[in-house]
């Protein structure tokens, strides 16, 4: 039995925990820090004990080493906290800044208040709990490497192929939904003060599990029945959620629309576009400028009363498509890195134009009071309405994309992605095919932009920074490049989850980044990859006939 890996892993993990600890993370995070540390310990155990190619660790070995990692971290943190607590109780001051934060900080870990720490209250009950939690996390993390090995994967496959596993996967989303519903029963207080966060988490879980269930369902009746059930539940969700939850879900939906568009450009056609936010911004500003009462257009044309959302939307899409085409012309012959740099520049240029063409765009002051969408006299300008529109938009773009993917055009995008020169030799018109990829992506982003503008009411150039492009790119990669269901998962993970982690405050970015890195190491093909990409990344032989459904 090799304990070396456990000890090494324990020390590495503890180094990281200590670092976060010294950063003052526990203080800012208050009570949420213990679960986060626990999850980190588990994840690190999982990552650090992962077998190198060829040699697989036995379950016993993995569990013992995992446990060791947990114990080292538990003991380490207890010792450090103990030292801190003693220092404070005895008024030993190392440094002024530390003296300010340490008592609260230590208290947060041990479950005490600042005064209790200063009074020398025992940290042991709280710290014992942490030590036990860490040990369990390490054990679970270590043991679960079995799911990430080749054998483990095969075993999982055989479980999910069994009818028990199969039906569990199909039922799971309904369980999450039921749990979510149970939150709404008066008197049941599962979530405590943060019930809306828990509810949101359950919706995320429901949607994610539903996507996996649809993937697992047998084609035909089973799939159709499930789709109908899930669709009904999905449509019911906005009725059951509160304002906060709807707002978060609305953002997730808008990013799904953008993700689906960028996926056409990057996932299908293989054209790396880092300036995708430009089309989002153009869509938003086109609608904003044509509809907001104080916008340049409405002010200079007194006779023009502005367009409604439903007129503005197609105009925004059209303008987006035109700019998309204009962008492609100079980059037609560019590939890879060069294309990425040029598009990145394009994204920034658009933002700078929005910022600096003050007379027309309002500059940093933005465009204010953009009207909301009205459907049959009903105002959709609230989180619930926007969420409904977001779901509908996502459905439409997903449908269009699937149709395109399975068409000749979809095939030509794949050829283009694989080898431009040979694609041409197959009789593919590169210019047309690239134009169509960019135009499709731009159209979806511009549509999302118009929806976003009426959601935000006021838009500013800073809403359209490079970060948005990066977010969208990350979410399609995390979900699994080329996979439409993956985009929904990616959007939940990247746009939705940070809202849940909000209680961890600024450090959520750190925690979140760590999660992403771990995920990409453990599952490089993305959360719910398209069949094609899975195959590509694992380079495995396909034994089943490939249908066009990715």
């Amino acid at each position: 039995m090799y304990l070396k890996d456990g000890i090494r892993g324990g020390l590495i993990t503890f180094g990281i925990i200590l670092f976060l600890n010294l950063l003052g993370l526990p203080l800012t995070a208050e009570s949420s820090i213990v679960p986060i540390f626990t999850v980190l310990v588990g994840l690190f155990a999982l990552l650090l004990l992962r077998s190198r190619a060829g040699q697989e660790r036995s379950l016993l070995n993995a569990s013992v080493n995992g446990l060791l990692i947990g114990i080292i971290n538990g003991i380490g943190l207890v010792i450090v906290t103990y030292i801190f607590a003693r220092m404070q109780a005895n008024a030993i001051r190392v440094n002024q800044v530390f003296a300010q934060i340490l008592p609260e900080h230590t208290g947060a870990l041990a479950g005490l208040t600042k005064a209790e720490v200063l009074a020398g209250e025992s940290i042991w009950p709280g710290m014992t709990k942490i030590a036990v939690l860490f040990a369990i996390a390490g054990l679970v993390g270590g043991a679960s490497i079995r799911f990430f090995t080749e054998k483990g994967r095969k075993r999982m496959d055989s479980i999910s192929a069994s009818s028990f596993g199969h039906y569990t996967v199909l039922i799971l989303p309904l369980v999450f939904f039921a749990l979510f519903l149970s939150l709404r029963i008066k008197g049941v207080k599962i979530g405590g003060a943060e019930e809306n966060i828990l509810g949101l988490l359950l919706i995320f879980l429901f949607v994610s599990a539903a996507l996996f269930a649809l993937r697992a369902a047998r084609p035909g009746k089973e799939q159709i029945a499930l789709s109908i059930v899930f669709l009904i539940l999905l449509v019911a969700i906005p009725q059951l959620t509160d304002l906060f939850q709807n707002a978060v879900l609305g953002a997730v939906a808008i990013f799904v629309v953008m993700g689906v568009g960028l996926n056409v450009v990057v996932g299908y056609a293989g054209l790396l576009n880092l300036g995708y936010v430009a089309f989002f911004g153009i869509g938003a500003y086109t609608f904003g400028l044509l509809s907001a009462p104080e916008s340049y257009v409405l002010v200079t044309l007194p006779a023009f009363n502005g367009v409604t959302f439903w007129i503005g939307l197609p105009i925004a899409i059209l303008v987006g498509v035109i700019t998309g085409i204009l962008l492609v012309i100079p980059v037609l012959s560019m590939r890879g890195d060069y294309l990425a740099i040029v598009t990145l520049g394009f994204g920034e240029i658009i933002r700078l134009l929005l910022l600096n063409l003050r007379d027309y765009t309002g500059g940093p002051g933005g465009v204010l009071n953009i009207p909301s969408p009205i459907v049959f006299g009903v105002d959709f300008g609230n989180p619930k309405g926007i969420l409904y529109l977001g779901i509908i938009f996502s459905g439409i773009v997903a449908f269009i994309t699937i149709r395109l993917r399975d068409s000749r055009l979809g095939r030509s995008w794949i050829a283009l992605r694989e080898d431009e020169d040979v694609a041409q030799a197959m009789g593919i018109n590169l210019v047309a095919v690239k134009l169509l990829a960019f135009a499709t992506g731009a159209a979806f982003a511009a549509g999302a932009g118009a929806l976003y503008a009426s959601r935000q009411v006021n838009i500013f150039p800073d809403n359209f920074s490079l970060l948005v492009s990066i977010d969208v790119l990350c979410l399609i990669i995390i979900g699994g490049l080329g996979s439409i269901e993956g985009i929904v998962l990616g959007s939940i993970a990247l746009i939705g989850l940070p809202e849940i982690l909000r209680s961890v405050n600024e450090y959520r970015i750190v925690a979140f980044g760590a999660l992403l890195v771990l995920m990409m190491i453990l599952r490089p093909e993305g959360l719910l990859p398209s069949v094609r990409h899975q195959r590509e990344l694992r380079g495995e032989e396909m034994t089943e006939p490939v249908t066009s459904s990715d």
Partner: protein, 237 residues
């Protein structure tokens, strides 16, 4: 009228004068080979025919029609298919998907189905491996796939760029047999080769290319017996 006529073509890469007044003709139904050493301009000739490079001077015509104004993909529509140097299969797609790509520009579904059958008869190996990812095929199988993919376009003229490259002698022989078989079924072939020995056995006629110029041409038999060819390309002293 010749199926393919390349007349006095001058092609450049920037300032590099790669083809210096090259002329070749290929008649319907023939196998014509173009042999030459590394860097002679063989691949450049094929690129010029496909429209990847537009010649600065001279013309390429297919059945008398000048190809100058046409783009690469339009030349494919006209019935010219290329098996590129180094195979260039879509390595992340399956064998089936690769073949399907070859038929990209066609809309006659019955014809496509027929051609699938035809290539699977010619290359039974590909049929066995139709759902395998192409990148995991052996070198010989990849060459078969590249050839089959071009056949899926149902070309009138097939351009093969060094199909024997990197293959074991047995495989080379079988590839060349297949090329003859394809030709018997009615496809005209322009075969670029360094393996002059094999190429001159299957071809009807041949051209010898040296630094962008044709230095010799004639029937395969005449070339085989030519002392210069024997010395430089067949290794016979």
């Amino acid at each position: 009228m010749a199926l393919l006529e390349v007349r006095d073509v001058h092609s450049y890469y920037g300032n590099i004068h790669a083809l210096k007044g090259l002329s070749i003709t290929v008649e319907e139904g023939e196998i014509v080979t173009l042999i030459g050493a590394n860097g002679a301009g063989k691949t450049t000739t094929l690129r010029t025919i496909c429209g990847v490079i537009k010649p600065r001077q001279g013309s390429v015509s297919l059945e008398g029609e000048n190809l100058e104004p046409f783009k690469i993909h339009e030349i494919v529509y006209k019935g010219v298919a290329l098996v590129p140097e180094g195979r260039r299969i879509f390595s992340r797609l399956t064998v089936y998907e690769n073949l399907d790509m070859g038929a990209y520009h066609r809309i006659d579904n019955d014809g496509i189905a027929e051609d699938f059958d035809r290539v699977f008869v010619l290359f039974p190996r590909l049929k066995e491996r139709r759902n395998q990812v192409a990148g995991t095929l052996s070198g010989g199988e990849q060459q078969m796939l590249a050839t089959a993919r071009a056949l899926m376009a149902h070309p009138r003229l097939m351009l093969l760029d060094e199909p024997s490259m990197g293959l074991a002698p047995v495989l080379v022989e079988s590839i060349f047999e297949t090329i003859q078989e394809i030709n018997r079924e009615g496809t005209t072939i322009l075969l670029v080769e360094q393996n002059a020995h094999m190429a001159l056995q299957v071809a009807h006629r041949g051209y010898v290319l040296q630094t962008g110029e044709i230095v010799l041409d004639g029937t395969a038999e005449a070339l085989r017996n030519n002392p210069m060819v024997q010395k430089s390309y067949l290794g016979i002293e």
